[in-house]
């Protein structure tokens, strides 16, 4: 019983540590806040119910692998839905499932000029990240943002370490090409 409580506390601490970054990764990939929250919740649930008995050092790559799978599922569902909608011209104008760019914009609030500038840079960065191919974006965010090492990133992406390095390198080059020498 005591062991179970310790496990629950460790899992709680782990999830609390990754939830915000996981949300941001999902939000950048899906460009939709509610969908991002859903995939993060799914990933948390699956890790808790199926993989929490695994050693704690395996949780992070496992969690991000689950998260990436969920993100891909949502993207596939959207693709299918878009194709079906494209075949129904009478549904084209309703736009009920379209993403509202205003609703999705970062909530800046009343900020001083420096913060507005910073927000603009963040928006530019998000756009640049969204323009990357999926694998490059995954490699970049997991390595650079989440701080996974190459082996953990490879485990999360289910690919070789060499592929991770290649994707990451190309992502950095692409971002540099798009953003230039932007300043914070």
């Amino acid at each position: 019983m005591r062991e179970s409580e310790d496990g629950a506390q460790a899992l709680d601490a782990f999830l609390a540590g990754v939830e915000r970054k996981a949300f941001r990764i999902a939000q950048i990939a899906l460009r939709h806040e509610a969908d991002a929250l859903d995939v993060v919740q799914d990933a948390m649930l699956q890790l808790s119910t199926r993989y929490s008995s695994r050693p704690a050092e395996e949780w992070k790559p496992l969690f991000y692998r689950i998260l990436e799978n969920r993100i891909r599922d949502v993207q596939r569902r959207r693709n299918v839905r878009n194709r079906v909608m494209a075949m129904m011209p009478w549904r084209g104008g309703e736009g009920e499932d379209e993403i509202d760019p205003i609703a999705q914009a970062v909530d800046a609030g009343p900020t001083p000029a420096t913060e507005i500038e910073s927000d603009e840079i963040l928006v530019a960065l998000e756009r640049a990240l969204q323009a990357l191919p999926n694998r490059q974006r995954q490699a970049f965010l997991l390595r650079n943002f989440e701080g996974l090492d190459v082996a953990q990133t490879a485990a999360a992406m289910k690919c070789s370490e060499g592929s991770v390095k290649t994707h990451y390198f190309r992502a950095v080059q692409a971002l540099r090409g798009k953003l230039g020498d932007f300043r914070i």
Binding site: L37, F169, L175
Partner: protein, 143 residues
């Protein structure tokens, strides 16, 4: 891997550092609603884990108890040998039957029974004290 790539991976370039700082800052700026949803999701995941463990125990406990009870019943009530050991008498009887079956004498069947005699005997018992008809007479009446 070319030289540029090695250099890129060896130490974080400026753009990597900047993007990292920006993204980490963006997590601190998440709205209260999002933070609340994330906390709820975390608690739901932990609850599901706790319920899952309890549910698995609850699911298997009755089945395990039932199986143990059935096993105990079998051990207590079943004799050591479930098939009866043939006794000497039974073996001897079987041998007698073999003699009977292999003998040349035909087995009697119902066709050999003289029912008229039994019918006469019944009638005689019913009419006790009266005139006694002979078995031949009864048989000759065609009954």
């Amino acid at each position: 891997m070319n030289a540029g790539m090695s250099e890129e991976l060896a130490g974080n370039s400026e753009i990597e550092q900047r993007t990292r700082v920006l993204l980490i800052e963006s997590t601190a700026a998440l709205s209260g609603a999002v933070r609340s949803r994330l906390t709820q999701a975390r608690h739901a995941a932990l609850d599901a884990r706790a319920h899952g463990t309890r549910y698995r125990l609850q699911r298997w406990l009755p089945a395990g108890a039932l199986a143990a009870g059935a096993l105990a019943l079998l051990v207590v009530y079943l004799p050591p040998h479930s098939h009866p050991v043939p006794t000497t008498a039974a073996i001897n009887g079987s041998i007698d039957d073999i003699d009977l079956l292999t003998s040349d004498v035909p087995l009697s069947t119902d066709q050999d029974v003289d029912y008229s005699f039994y019918e006469w005997a019944v009638d005689a018992a019913d009419n006790s004290g009266g005139a006694h008809a002979s078995p031949a007479a009864v048989g000759s009446n065609g009954t």
